[in-house]
Symmetry: D2
Subunit: 309 residues, 4 copies
C-alpha cells in the first residue's frame, strides 16, 4: 500500500465482524470505502475484478471464516499478492438487546468457532441457556437484534452495528487468542524490506515419496531461512496429493530468501509467490551466520574471481 | 472396533449431513444408535464422557465443519484415538419442497463451504437467485422445509430427513471431491496391521529455529516412513509457535514407524499418538529398501552380536 | 586389553620407530614380548594367524607408514577389532654416531614423511647436507650406525637401539604433531563403556549418487552421534566407488550409537564394525538433548505402551 | 594447459616410477623437459618457485608416495591449481639384472605399498626369497642394478632406466588397480567446461559438532552436485579437528557447482578452490532434474520478475 492508499477496501463481512475491526486498525482505511463480502472467495474475487483495491481476509485462527478457504483461494485462480498483515487480539462479548439482563438469557447464538472458544465461560455465565449456531458472529448479533435469540457471542464491534449492549465482555475461555489477517491486492512490486518481513508462497511438489517435503524444507534450511507456518493442502481435490502453503521469515529482496525461492522454482512442479510484506509483530528476521546479504555478496565476488581470475 | 461393535455412535450433525452419510457406510453402524452432535467438539466430548462409544467427525476437506476444529480438539484434552477412517465422495444436490420448480427458486440456502464448491453451477442453474449462508447444509434443508428459503444445497441424504425433493443432483463445480472422516474412540490397543495402514500423531517442537521442522521430518525420512499429511497448528493460542499434525504411512506395530515415533518422543517437547488404523483406500505402504520389519530384525540381531559376541 | 594382558604384542617395526615408542606407553606392554613387523599388513596378519595377541599400528598422521594401508587392511580380510588407541606426540631428533658434530654432517637419512615434517629445520641446521630417503626412520638410524650416512632424522628412541647420540632434539618444523595408533586384536566383546569412547567402522554404500553419503551421515546426525573422522577409500580397487572409514563418538553399548549402527546395517551394502574403545584423550562424548540412554529407554517404554496398552 | 604447453614439467621421482609413466601419457610432455623431484612437497614447491610450469603428482591409490602428502601440500602454502588428471593402470614387473633367472632370486626389493599389492604373487613366484623394503620402486630397481639385491618389484618403465630385464610381468595380486595423478600448476582461469569435469576443493568447518559435515554435504546435495571423493584431514596438526578434501562432479562455471561453492564460502571457516578440469575417464556429470544451467537461468529470471515486476 505504498504511496496513495486504495480508495476502496473489501473485507470478509458481514459488518461487525472481527475482520472489519482488524481493517479499521489500518490508517489507510480511515478515508476508504469499506465493502463487506459474504465469503473470502467473494472478497478475493472482488479484488481480481477491480471492485476493490484490496481486501482484508483472515489467514490464521480465524473466528469468522476458514483459514483453509483463504489459503485455497489464494493458491488458485488469477494471482493475487499479500501486501500487509494485521494481528487482532480476539475478544468476545456477550451482547443483548438493551434491557436484557443475564438472567433473561435462554438462548445464545454464535458461530461454531466462537462457541468452541467460549464454551466454558458460557457454561459458567448462562448454564441453562441453549446455544444456537449461526454462520457468523455478526449474523448472531443481527438475529438477536431481530428478536430471534436472547444473546449473541460476537465481536464487541457488533454491538454498535446492531444496536445491542454488552452484557459481559471478555468471555473467551483463553485470553489472548490472536487472529492474523492479510490485506490482499493484485500483483505488483513488493513493499521495501524492513528487516522484519514475511514471505508467503505456495509450492506444489513433483513427488509424494518420503523425503519430498523434506527436500523442499531443506532448500530453506540450508540458506538459514526460518519457516513460521507450513500447511499441506489437498492438491486438485485429491486427498493424499498436496501442495504446501508456507510463511518464511524475510523478504524476497534478501539474498537468502531469493535464492531459496529460486531453488524451489527449479525443483518444484510449481511455485506461487504470494508476497513479501512487513510483519505486524515487527519481529526482525534471525539471520544466521553466513546468510546475510553481505555474506552472499562476498561469496558471489569470490566465485566470480574463481571463474575469471 | 474389534469384537463387539459399539452400541452407540456419535457424529457431527445435524442429521442429514455428509457425516451421517459417511457413518452409514460402516457396517457396524447398521445396528447402532446414531447420535448427532452440534459440533465436532461436542461429539468428541461425548466420547470422552462415555455418552457414545465412538464418534465420526470430518478430518479433511470437510463440508460441514472445520478440519482445524477436529485437529485442535484431538490435540488437546483427554486423549482419544482414531480407530477407522471413511472416505466419502461429496455430492451436492439442490433440494426444494415438493412442487417447487427450478424457475421458482429465488433464494438458495447453504453452508459457506458448499457455496464455495458449487458457485459456478448455481450461477448457471439459478443465475438470479440470492444465496443465503447457514451454519450447515442440513440447517439449510431444514430452513427450506420450514419455508424460509426456496431451495437448499445439501447432501442428498438431507432430502429424506426434511421431506424435500431433489431439483438437480451433482451440482458441485468439481466432480470427485472427497471428504475424509475419522471414527474416534477412547485409547486402546490399535487394530492389527493390514499392510495398508495410517498413523496419525501430533508433535510439539521444542524450538522454532530454521531446521526444527526439518529435523522432525528427517526422523521419518531416514526410516523410510512417508508422510501423507502435515499441518502446522498454532500452539497454545500463540501465532508463530506451532505444533504439527501428521499422517504417516504404516502402523505403529511396524518397526520403521515405531522407531520414528520413539525418535520423536525423544526430541520433541511432546508427542501425542492418535492411532494406527487401516487406510480406507487400501493403498499399501511403500516400504523402501532396508526398512522392512525383517531388515530391522536382522540389524538388531547383528547389533546384539556386536555387543555380546 | 582388560584382565590378563596379552603375552605378545606385534607392532609396525623396525625397532626404534615411533610405533614401538607408542607401544611402550601401554602398561600391558611392560611384561610382554614385543615383535616388530616390516609392514602394517604383516603385523595385522600376525594377529590373524595368532602369532601375537594384538598389534599396534598407526592410524592417523603416521610417520612410519601409511594410514591408508592400515585402513585398507582393517577393512578387508578376516575381521579384526580395535581394542585401544594410543596418542603419541611426534618428536624427531637428529642422530649421529658418537663423535660426529653438526659440522660433520654431509648426508642426512630419513623417511619421506619425516623429511616433509622437518624440511625447514634441516635447511637451517645443516643447509649444505644432502637428504637421502629411506623406508623408515629406524632404517635411517640403522644405516647411520652402519656408516652409510652421517646423520638420521629419527624417533629419539632409535638412539639407544642403534648406538647413536642426539645431535639436536625437536627438529620438527611444527611442534605438537601427534600420531594416533590403534591396538588391534581379534574380534570379541568390546571393553566396557567409559563415557569417553570411540567407535570405528567401515561402511560400503549401495549407491554413488548425490546424497548417498549424505544419507549415511544423516543416520548419525539424527541420533546425535558426532563423527570425529571420515575418509572415503576406493572400494574394490575402483576409483570413483568408495567405502567410508568412520570414527564416531560413543560406544556400541550406548543406545544412540547402537541404533545408528543398526540403521547403517539396514541401508548400506555392508558395514564392518571395527570396535568401541576408550579415547586416549579421555574427552567425554557430547550427548545432545534427547539422545541419552535414559531418553532411549523412556521412548521405548512409551512405544511399548502404545503398541499394547 | 591451453595454448602453449609448458616447457618444463616436474613429477614425483625418481625417474622410472609410475608417475613418470603417467606424465609421459600427456602429449604436452612429448616436447617438454621432465624434472623428477624427491618428494611431492618438493615437486609442488618447484611449481610455486617457478622452476617448472606444472608438476604431476599422485592423488589417489598412489604406489610411489602418499596421497595424504599431496592433499596436505595442496591445502596449505601458496595456492596451486589442478589443471588435468591422469589415470594410470598400475602394473608391476619383477625386474633383475640381465642373466638372472627366477631361480636365482634370493632377495626382492620394493616399496612397502608395492609389497602389499604383490604379496601373494611373490609368495607363489619366489617363495623362499627375502623381501627388502625401499623408499620407492625405482630405488629398488636402482639397488638391483647396483648389485645390492637380486630382483625388484617396480614399474615396467624402470627396466630401461636401470638396465634391467623383466623376469615376470603383471605381478600385482589384483589386476586393474589404477592410480590417479593430477597435474598441478599455478592459479589461473580453469579450462573450459567439457560436460565431464571434476572440481576439487578443501573446506574447513567452523564447528565440529554432529551435523557440521552433514551441513557441508547438504550444500552439494540440494544442488544435485555429486561428490566423488571425500576425505577428512587433520587440520592444523590437531587430531579431531578436520578439514575436508573433496572432489565434486561438474565445473565451477556451471551454475549448480558455482552456487554450491558460494554456499561453502559463506558457511565454512575457509574454502580453497583447487580447480575444475576434465575427468580423465570422460564420464559426463549426472545432472538431476532442476539443476541444469537452463533451470538456474529460468529460476533467476523468475526471481528477478518477482523483485521488480
Amino acid at each position: 500500500m505504498p504511496g496513495t492508499p486504495p480508495a476502496r477496501f473489501g473485507y470478509l463481512g458481514p459488518a461487525g465482524t472481527f475482520t472489519e475491526a482488524a481493517l479499521r486498525t489500518l490508517r489507510a482505511a480511515d478515508r476508504a470505502d469499506l465493502l463487506p463480502y459474504a465469503t473470502v472467495a467473494a472478497a478475493l474475487e472482488g479484488v481480481r475484478q477491480g471492485e476493490v483495491d484490496a481486501a482484508l481476509v483472515p489467514l490464521e485462527n480465524s473466528i469468522e471464516g476458514s483459514v483453509a478457504t483463504t489459503l485455497d483461494e489464494l493458491a488458485t485462480g488469477d494471482p493475487l499478492m499479500l501486501r500487509r498483515e494485521v494481528l487482532l487480539r480476539v475478544q468476545f462479548s456477550l451482547l443483548a438487546r438493551p434491557g436484557t439482563s443475564l438472567d433473561d438469557v435462554r438462548t445464545v447464538a454464535t458461530h461454531p468457532h466462537a462457541e468452541a472458544q467460549c464454551r466454558r465461560s458460557l457454561a459458567a455465565l448462562v448454564p441453562d441457556a441453549t446455544v444456537v449456531l449461526t454462520s457468523s458472529t455478526a449474523e448472531a448479533a443481527r438475529a438477536v437484534a431481530a428478536g430471534q435469540y436472547d444473546a449473541a457471542v460476537s465481536a464487541p464491534v457488533a454491538a454498535q452495528h446492531y444496536g445491542l449492549t454488552e452484557l459481559v465482555g471478555g468471555v473467551a475461555d483463553n485470553v489472548g487468542a490472536v487472529t492474523r489477517f492479510v490485506l490482499v491486492g493484485t500483483p505488483g512490486p513488493p513493499p521495501s524490506p524492513t528487516g522484519a518481513d514475511r514471505t508467503t508462497l505456495v509450492a506444489h511438489l513433483t513427488d509424494d515419496g518420503p523425503g519430498a517435503l523434506l527436500a523442499l524444507l531443506t532448500e530453506f534450511a540450508v540458506r538459514g531461512v526460518n519457516l513460521t507456518r507450513i500447511e499441506s493442502r489437498p492438491s486438485g481435490g485429491v486427498l493424499g496429493r498436496y501442495s504446501f502453503s508456507l510463511d518464511a521469515e524475510g523478504h524476497v529482496a534478501e539474498a537468502r530468501v531469493g535464492e531459496a525461492l529460486s531453488a524451489l522454482k527449479r525443483v518444484c512442479a510449481d511455485v506461487r509467490f504470494l508476497g513479501s510484506y512487513p510483519r505486524a509483530d515487527e519481529v526482525p528476521a534471525r539471520v544466521v551466520a553466513g546468510t546475510s546479504d553481505g555474506d552472499f555478496r562476498a561469496a558471489a565476488a569470490w566465485l566470480a574471481g574463481l571463474r575469471a581470475p
